[in-house]
Point group: C2
Chain length 288, copies 2
């Protein structure tokens, strides 16, 4: 329970910093942390800039949550045999470094893609998916849980073989929801990823398929924070018409299939297998 709480609080820290970095106004249908503090400043007769105060507070709130996640994990691991505790801690540490580096690759890619060869963009976008999200959202939590339960190296490897492709499918679904998701369900404005200019696998595939003038239009619009609804709809249409959405759906199906095959090969006990198969269905077919 403490280890789960540690992962949840770590995730909260990442979201607070992520919303700050992406300049997102909302999270789960409510104002993002930096906006909450910005409003608090604006509602008081305080000195200085409200946005600066919001940003500064969000940096510190994320730092506080990072520290607390670490303490929660230690509390959870304290009662375990040394070897299980050590394996779980190493996996948590690896996750913490990898997701931070993955986030960096993501923001780097948003900016540096213009200076990269066109034919490298899909591979670079896939690398972001693996580090920013796939390992962190599914693989690492499963392996941490497995290590806490005293899983053998072979069992932990089986969880990895299931978790990584499923995590990739999870993030590709997230990318589609970032462009096509229903704001009333996702809690984020429609087309948020288009205004933010995220260089997702979806975008990389579309750029391979579009004609040169269409690709130029995509590049011009993507990342413009002032896109209006009409422009968002036209981008949504262009990404669909070139077949990129179908291609991403195909990869999601393939990765999910890969995860399910790994699960069958793993020979885990029946209850665990059913729970993990349910998880695979839930994260790849979700709408929010």
């Amino acid at each position: 329970m403490s280890a789960s709480a540690a992962l949840e609080v770590f995730h909260a820290a990442a979201l607070v910093h992520d919303d700050l970095i992406d300049n997102s106004d909302t999270r789960r249908g409510a104002p993002s942390a930096h906006r909450v503090f910005e409003s608090r400043h604006a509602d008081s007769a305080w000195a200085g800039s409200a946005p600066d105060y919001g940003r500064a507070t969000a940096v510190l709130l994320g730092d506080l949550l990072l520290g607390w996640s670490d303490e929660l994990l230690d509390d959870g691991l304290a009662a375990l045999p040394t070897q299980a505790a050590r394996a779980a801690r190493l996996e948590f540490n690896r996750m913490r470094t990898e997701v931070t580096v993955g986030q960096y690759l993501d923001i780097l890619e948003e900016r540096a893609w213009v200076a990269m060869p066109d034919d490298a963009q899909r591979e670079r976008a896939e690398r972001v998916v693996v580090f920013k999200s796939a390992k962190y959202s599914i693989e690492a939590p499963l392996v941490i849980g497995g290590a806490i339960a005293g899983g053998s190296p072979a069992e932990l490897d089986a969880l990895r073989a299931f978790g990584l492709p499923l995590g990739i499918a999870f993030q590709l679904r997230d990318d589609l929801l970032g462009v096509y998701g229903d704001p009333s369900v996702t809690g984020k404005p429609a087309g948020d990823d288009l205004r933010e200019g995220k260089r997702t696998v979806l975008v990389a595939i579309a750029r391979e398929r579009l004609s040169s003038p269409e690709r130029q239009l995509l590049d011009d619009l993507l990342g413009d924070p002032d896109l209006d609804e009409e422009q968002v709809r036209s981008l949504q249409q262009a990404l669909r018409d070139c077949g990129a959405v179908d291609e991403v759906e195909r990869i999601i199906a393939m990765r999910t299939e890969e995860a399910n095959r790994a699960l069958e090969a793993a020979k885990l006990d029946r209850d665990a297998s059913i729970a993990l198969a349910d998880l695979a269905g839930a994260v790849t077919r979700r709408v929010s």
Copy 2:
């Protein structure tokens, strides 16, 4: 050695985030982290805003360093008896939370002081000193070292009784250097704290001593990022003429004396006592 490295890397994380929060251009005579990454963006033909990229990267770099400081500490504590390791870890955890909350109180005070009663400002400024700096810079590292060495509760209390007043003296010296320090020695622009609008104990004491029109002028200038050299000099003069600088020097001397008395009462071994007395002299008389 690993524990010392953990503290150093934690400190680096705090500085990266602190410079971002304070919008500082330089650190130790070189560009601050967010400015380094901002320049890297500006020097490349990348998309998007260079300052946004600099800020985002500094958030993530600080996060990465926070995680690594934690791993270094674990490495250092792994070989210790359980009780010593646990005591050192608890002190580190407490420090991590307290310094983050102290940083928050600092940025809150910079903005909220206008809405606070005048007679509470000195006490509020002293609270910032204790949490943002005094415990973190001297007390916690000493107690962590003491715990690692297997110090008794009484010995750790003695280190606290020495470390806290010395940490307060250290930060008050820092506040004076932030206003009067020589840029070629401190590595920061002259009057940086005045442009930033830090609500230090020095400023709180000056506000108690200045006439109403002088106080108004101080409040108008302090925190203006565009202060010119002439205005910086006039603020330096006003803080000195009202006796606030002398009063801060008096408190520094009193706190240093308090630390030294605690050191004498502690009956530590001779080498440790000499090293700590040297430390007390160094941190309170430093010029950078």
